[in-house]
């Protein structure tokens, strides 16, 4: 039993190199991803499932080795049976409850930066957790994957020139801003919702004011 568990752990370590996670190559796994997973780990057998199910994305991000995406992709690709869900042992690992609660509260509080994302022309909205992205590149990549479009690169002068799409957001004051104008930390704390504008409206944004 111990043998198979550690053999399994070895397999997991080897898989780490090809693991697909959200973020640029070389960046570590965002801290809140596993903590969110922790809440689900008792419910689902896969500890890496996140609340947002990108089930229709299972194959395409796998090809894109340059970008990491949700661990879900890895799991849905994984042919082996998911690891058996672990019955929690009382008092193990030996951690004080206030510590456990604190980690959970922080992930809930910190992971609570869920914003709705709408795209012009799309029938329904999506919701994403801003806290899990390290910065704008990761966020934009994720939006591109989610809506199957190309947003391209941000430039201060010209916005998202060359793209049919412009990611915008509504900030705390109710104004619609172009994603990328303010520092990432400021964006995360002031963004209320995202909207991916399309077409002429989008192209107009870059050269305004």
């Amino acid at each position: 039993m111990a043998t198979s568990a550690s053999a399994y752990e070895n397999d997991i370590k080897n898989l780490k190199a090809t693991e697909l996670t959200l973020g640029l190559p070389g960046t570590h796994l965002q801290q809140n991803v596993p903590i969110i997973d922790q809440e689900k780990s008792s419910a689902s057998s896969s500890s890496n499932k996140r609340p947002l199910q990108l089930s229709h994305e299972e194959t395409s991000p796998a090809q894109d080795c340059g970008s990491k995406c949700s661990n879900i992709a890895k799991n849905t690709d994984d042919d082996a049976a998911p690891p058996p869900s672990k019955a929690k042992i009382v008092g193990w690992p030996p951690i004080r409850s206030y510590r456990k609660n604190s980690l959970q509260e922080q992930s809930e509080a910190a992971g609570g930066i869920y914003v709705k994302v709408s795209m012009d022309g799309a029938p329904y909205l999506r919701k994403i957790d801003l806290k899990i992205y390290g910065g704008y590149p990761q966020l934009l990549k994720a939006l591109e994957n989610m809506f199957k479009l190309t947003i391209g690169e941000y430039s201060e002068k010209e916005g998202y020139k060359g793209s049919d799409y412009a990611p915008t957001y509504e900030d705390k004051d109710g104004d619609w801003m172009l994603v990328g104008d303010v520092p990432w930390d400021m964006f995360v704390t002031s963004c209320k919702r995202l909207r991916i504008m399309k077409g002429s409206e989008a192209r107009g944004l870059g050269c305004a004011v």
Binding site: P94, Y98, T189
Partner: protein, 584 residues
């Protein structure tokens, strides 16, 4: 009292004794002769009771009539991990009532793992005119109303420390009950409180207490209020921040950095809930003076942790989450040559797979680079005998070694062998080891090593280990200085326990849960050893409703001069001479 012609007058002896402060030495003095016993007991000012049920309030008061400081501990250590059911005991009230009558000049009360009621706090507040120190460590049962009574009445209070207690936080209003004329606060720890305290009252309190050295805030104190608090107490030596996050505003940051820089005496930092990494550099100006850093709530990644830690060249104590990873620990080993204590906590304790790159290597690096390392608490997911061997040889000066490999019964991940040899190396090389916690796949052999080499070992924690009674027997028969032994989920049973019954009187306590000790053996032990309380805990019903050979759920054995306790809840049965028969 008859005095021999050649003996010193009492007053002289008393004066000499006043320089002897350690409990052990005081105990030794009292055993010299009857007159020394008498003199000593009248001038003893401070008492430590490691198990509140080992003695009773009347016995304590009768022997030591002039105490100024009392420390009591209640529940067994495994209560920290929810292994002791609610209502088990450890009630402070009888003690506090008794002391209120007997010690009007009592100054200090320190309680750990006890149940404290608001009523008890009110009694404290009203009974001791010169009350100075209240420390409630991992206690529960009281609310902020009780705190209000303390704040309102204890004019000479120096220290109020609620570390890790569970307080029913009804309102933050209690802090305002410190009168405006109250200025003697030296230490305040409210980090466990859930609600916001009255921030204005806090600021005023902090700025009017010139001797305030320790201030540990709770999470609800927002970061943008911290600079004001710091400016009100530039003499602070120990600070626990509240939530370490805010809307990213440059003025908040510079204000904070300036305030930190103004605290030239600040040596200890903790708190750091909800850390926004871009605010961490605000503490950089004082890193070089820090000796203790608790980042165990800071959910930030390795690079941010590395930047911070590498500036703390005087660091002696670091508590951190495993986000620091092996890389971070390597930097720690290179930067912090004065490190004495390291604790690494798991960020994802229930995850099935590792979420961080923290392995045994991190600990090995620290053991190599930090020559003064004495105390280790390390959570990880893999370990090897080779690593443990290296650690043991690198650091024979370890005194506390607690290793938790998260998956129970994990073998050496390289060889798939048990970790007996690795832990054996630890006890063999670390000759002054006083505390040890085991984990991983372990056979009886590790206990043989422990019994052979662990001569200074005082506390041992065991889980999911061993093969037979022999394991327990090795420990009980070999560890000469063992005081506390706590065991869970091990195949240890009657034979070893009964064969070593006498040993149990030399220890403070023994805890065994989910082992193979039968009800019958517990009864025998209780009958054989009248100076032990043998308590059986079983939430599924009276143990005598099952065959004598059935294993008991939980067993807690401790030495006592107070006889069986009278405050046991329905799920605890004591196995003493009479009750063992009384049950049936």
């Amino acid at each position: 009292m008859k005095k021999a012609a050649y003996s010193f007058p009492e007053e002289v002896l008393e004066h000499v004794f006043s320089f002897i402060v350690s409990d052990k030495d005081r105990s030794s003095i009292s055993l010299v002769c009857k007159s020394w016993y008498e003199i000593e007991r009248w001038c003893r000012r401070k008492v430590f009771v490691g198990n509140c049920y080992a003695v009773s309030p009347p016995i304590l008061i009768k022997r030591f009539p002039e105490l100024r400081s009392v420390t009591l501990k209640g529940k067994p250590h495994f209560a920290d991990f929810n292994l002791v059911p609610e209502g088990w005991g450890g009630f402070a009230c009888p003690w506090i009532r008794a002391m209120a009558g007997a010690y009007p000049w009592l100054e200090e009360i320190r309680l750990k793992r006890m149940v404290v009621s608001d009523e008890s706090l009110e009694i404290i507040a009203k009974s001791f005119r010169n009350f100075k120190v209240l420390v409630l460590s991992s206690c529960e049962g009281f609310t902020t109303e009780g705190l209000a009574a303390i704040a309102a009445n204890c004019r000479n209070l120096r220290e109020l420390d609620l570390r890790e207690s569970e307080v029913e936080d009804l309102s933050g209003r209690w802090l305002s009950d410190f009168p405006d004329s109250y200025t003697s606060l030296e230490s305040l720890n409210i980090s466990c409180l859930g609600n916001e305290v009255n921030l204005l009252a806090l600021e005023r309190l902090v700025s009017r207490c010139p001797n305030l050295k320790t201030l540990r805030l709770n999470r609800a104190v927002p970061l943008d209020r911290l600079p004001n608090l710091l400016r009100g107490a530039p003499q602070l030596a120990e600070l626990g921040t509240g939530a370490y996050t805010s809307e990213m505003r440059p003025d908040v940051f510079s204000n904070l950095a300036e305030a930190f820089a103004g605290c030239k005496q600040l040596k200890t930092l903790s708190g750091f809930w909800d850390v926004l990494p871009s605010y961490l550099p605000a503490v950089y100006p004082i890193c070089s003076q820090l000796i203790s850093l608790n980042l165990s709530y800071a959910t930030v990644q390795s690079p941010d942790l590395i930047k911070l830690v590498s500036l703390c060249e005087k660091l002696q104590k670091l508590w951190v989450l495993d986000y620091i990873e092996d890389d971070g620990l390597e930097v720690l080993a290179a930067s912090c040559k004065d490190l004495r204590e390291l604790r690494v906590f798991p960020s994802d304790p229930f995850g099935l797979e590792p979420n961080v790159a923290l392995t045994e290597q991190g600990l090995v690096s620290v053991s190599e680079g930090c020559p003064k390392l004495q105390s280790v608490l390390y959570f990880c997911r893999q370990m090897s005998n080779a690593a443990l061997n290296t650690i043991a040889r690198n650091r024979p000066n370890l005194t506390r070694f607690r290793l938790c490999i998260i998956e129970p019964r994990s073998p050496d991940y390289l060889t798939l062998q048990p970790l007996d040899d690795g832990f054996g190396a630890i006890v063999e090389h670390c000759k002054d080891l006083r505390r040890l916690s085991l984990s991983g796949l372990l056979t009886d052999r590790v206990f043989e090593y422990i019994g052979t080499y662990g001569k200074k070992l005082e506390m041992l924690s065991v889980a999911f280990a061993g093969d037979s009674d022999l394991g327990l027997h090795h420990v009980l028969s070999g560890c000469d200085n063992l005081r506390k032994l706590e065991i869970r989920d091990c195949p240890f049973g009657d034979k070893a326990l009964l064969a070593n019954a006498a040993k149990l009187e030399t220890m403070r306590s023994l805890w065994m849960s989910s082992c193979s000790v039968s009800f019958g053996a517990c009864k025998v032990l209780g009958q054989k050893m009248p100076r032990l309380n043998v308590e059986v805990m079983d939430e599924s019903g009276p143990p005598d409703s099952r065959p004598e050979s059935s294993p008991v759920e939980k067993l807690y054995v401790y030495r006592t001069v107070a006889g069986p306790r009278l405050d046991m809840p329905g799920f605890v049965w004591t196995m003493d001479d009479d009750s063992a028969l009384r049950i049936s």
